[in-house]
Amino acid sequence: MSKNVRPGSLFVLLLMCLDLHTLVESAPICAHGHTGCHSPTLSDLFDRVIQHSARMHGLSSDLHSDFEQYFLPSRNQIGRINRKCHTAYILTPNGKENAQRLAREELTEVILKLLAAWRDPLSQFHRSMARHEDFTSISGNKALEMSDMVHQLKNGVEKVAEKMQLLGMISNSLMSLSSTEALAPHSASSEARSMSDYELLYCFRRDSNKVQNYLKILKCRIVAEHGC
């Protein structure tokens, strides 16, 4: 009996360690340095998150150009939106120096705020996409994928932040993650609801580019590597 139990427990332990590798979605079991577990490095985490954000931005660009093709043939309207993006309340650095001037914590916070602000509008967008009959199903799938990605990316960045805090690279003065959503003014979400699909796409395309760029800056600042 005892002989059977021991390999069984080892097996379970192995499984638990392997579970760590599905990083973004699940909480790391070995985050606190259990022996025998192999946790990915911060560099790996950053790479995954950056890849994820790149894919997200690619999707948003595709959708945006599709939308322009189908709904806005007139060149005069391209790029012109009548109102601000609903994320305008978030102060984001608009240049390299500004971004570099921001502290790591602040930069991380900006990223998380942006990602949090887009979760609801994107699901709203996906629902309205489903209603469009002349929009292709491929675009509909992209919209769904995009809204999932935002959620996944936010979780990933949170993991990165945790890891950074763990390693002492950023101070613990980072606001608690749940509060980032709470701080969003109520008007923002209502504003998002009143935006048209095209405006949503336009704003999201820009914001996803911001997120990708900020993540890259953060990575190269913290984990200087061959990619920088």
Binding site: G95, E97, N209, R221, C228
Partner: protein, 563 residues
């Protein structure tokens, strides 16, 4: 005074205006553009080399013949404040340069160019620009190609990102692409280098010059221009390779020679394999061996079945078949199996066309076994027994003889080597036949044989490729048994006396007057000899004909016939 002055001035002004208008008219008549408000300018594009500054270019419209000035105005997103271009000079003519302080990323710029001259102004269509979309970096710098010696020779291409692009901080991510060409090639080869700043090109062609150029692209933007081309000369390191090829060539030549040698050795087998001897046509019922027997009557006896008029003095002679079967190990009975007239006819008829020798299966099998056992099979053609002997109905046909109307087993070479010639029982012949065949001369007078054959039914032509394979009648014993033996090597002389030469073959062209054969020269297989039988032939060689297996007639000298 002042009034006058004013009057003069007014007049001058009017005159000048008139003159001006006249000039305008003249100008128009001459085809030159006259003065007019400026044409609408057009914004071409805006580009940012490093995502920190950007430049916009425009195309002027018609100037209207007057000095025209261009002004660029822009508005930032969601703001109504109109700004003017901060720098018209840095980027050249008809351009506006936005420096770092005036550039904001992720902000939509609404840009317009206004052309203005004395007569009016014209405004271009507005253009919306977001710097994140218009990044086009400068080309990569310091592109170098060097020869590197690792395991083998290879080329290493290295470059630097453009100076202004800040990849170190992660602000821009650049991916690179190479174009490589040999100097004499027409087309460039593309290589994608990804994020790395160096690239290896393996196995360059020796003794040639390579040209390389590189360009880069940000992850969301435009490809840069191509860098300056870098050259490298690859030395001739071929000799080492060449020696390998030479070794290979020598080795394959060697293998080829061996193969050809083996082929030459086994030429005969190969030839038999690839070009099996074709059985030749045979005249119906025409027995070539009878020709050697100087019995012209018998020759034509064989043709009785075909309707030829038999010779007068061979009235009741019928062609019969003597089956020669061989039993090397054991002795067996042998008897002539005379066929009746009808049978003769049938047999003769059966011999039409091809090379029918009717060697019975048993004989063939025995021969095969013996040959395999002895292992000295040299012949490629089967041994056939040819001999049409006249016979009567006295002799009982052998039971095994009844079935032997097989075509000549040419594929099963029949070779009776000397050693195995003992122990054969003599052939039994009909006395009458023998006498007719030989004219009453005793057979045994010619004892050449040192072995005997078992014969059961003897039909067809005994063919040998070597002298040792000839079957000769050794003797006739009291029981009218014909004893045959294969011709030994030392008796080749006799054959030669007969004039059996390998090469002087002739072809029968026609039969004239029932007893004259017309011959024509022809070629034949060199190894075909017509078997002879009987000592009378040897003793009395005469010029006669011997028909080979493929219808060709062999000439040899035979002395005067004894009959």
């Amino acid at each position: 005074m002042e009034k006058g002055f004013a009057r003069v001035w007014r007049k001058t002004g009017t005159r000048l205006t008139l003159l001006y208008l006249l000039l305008l008219l003249v100008g128009r008549m001459n085809g030159e553009a006259g003065v007019a408000p400026p044409g609408k300018p057009r914004l071409i594009n805006c580009r940012s080399p490093e995502k920190e500054t950007f430049t916009c270019w425009w195309e002027p419209g018609s100037s209207g013949g007057l000095p025209t000035s261009y002004t660029l105005f822009y508005r930032k997103e969601n703001s109504d404040v109109v700004y003017e271009c901060p720098d018209y000079i840095t980027a050249g003519d008809n351009s506006c340069f936005f420096d770092k302080n005036h550039t904001s990323i992720w902000v939509n710029y609404n840009i317009t160019v206004v052309a203005q001259n004395a007569l009016g102004n014209a405004s271009s269509d507005p253009m919306d620009v977001d710097v994140m979309n218009i990044v086009q970096p400068h080309h990569p710098e310091n592109v170098t190609v060097t020869l590197m010696q690792g395991e083998n020779l290879y080329l290493q291409v290295k470059w630097q990102p453009p100076r202004m692009a800040d990849t170190r901080s992660g602000w821009i991510t650049l991916t690179y692409e190479l174009l490589v060409k040999r100097e004499e090639d027409d087309e460039w080869e593309e290589y994608f280098a990804g994020l790395q700043k160096q690239y290896q090109l393996f196995s360059p062609h020796p003794g040639e010059t390579y040209m390389v150029k590189v360009r880069c692209k940000p992850d969301h933007g435009y490809w840069s221009e191509w860098s300056a081309t870098a050259y490298v000369d690859v030395p001739d390191y071929l000799p080492r390779e060449r020696s390998v090829w030479m070794l290979l060539a020598v080795f394959s030549a060697f293998v080829f020679l061996i193969f050809m040698w083996v082929l030459a050795l086994k030429k005969n087998r190969v030839k038999h394999c690839l070009l099996p001897p074709v059985p030749g046509p045979k005249i119906k019922g025409f027995d070539s061996c009878l020709l050697k027997m100087e019995k012209s009557e018998e020759i034509f006896n064989g043709l009785i079945g075909l309707g030829f008029r038999p010779p007068s003095d061979s009235g009741d002679l019928l062609v019969d078949y003597l089956e020669v079967s061989e039993s090397i190990q054991s002795e067996s009975r042998h008897s002539l199996s005379p066929n009746g007239k009808d049978q003769v006819k049938d047999s003769v008829a059966d011999h039409s066309g091809g090379h029918l020798c009717d060697v019975p299966a048993i004989l063939a099998e025995k021969c095969n076994k013996e040959m395999e056992a002895q292992g000295d099979v040299q012949t490629e053609e089967s041994l056939e027994t040819v001999g049409h002997l006249a016979g009567n109905d006295n002799h009982t046909p052998n039971p095994s003889a009844a079935s032997s109307n097989q075509p000549c087993v040419q594929e099963s070479p029949y070779h009776v080597p000397e050693e195995s010639k003992q122990g054969l029982d003599p052939v039994t012949w009909d006395n009458d036949e023998l006498s007719s065949y030989r004219g009453n001369a005793p057979v045994h007078g010619k004892s050449h044989f040192n072995s005997e054959y078992v014969t059961e039914r003897w039909q067809g032509c005994l063919q040998v490729t070597k002298p040792t394979e000839y079957v000769e009648v050794q003797k006739v014993n009291q029981e009218n048994t014909l004893i045959l033996k294969p011709k030994a090597e030392e008796e080749m002389e006799d054959f030669l006396q007969l004039g059996l030469r390998g090469q002087d073959y002739s072809k029968v062209s026609e039969l004239v007057n029932d007893h004259i054969l017309l011959l024509e020269r022809g070629s034949t297989t060199p190894n075909t000899y017509c078997g002879s039988l009987g000592s009378p032939v040897q003793q009395q060689p005469k010029q006669t004909l011997c028909q080979g297996p493929n219808g060709y007639v062999e000439t040899f000298t035979v002395q005067s016939s004894s009959y």
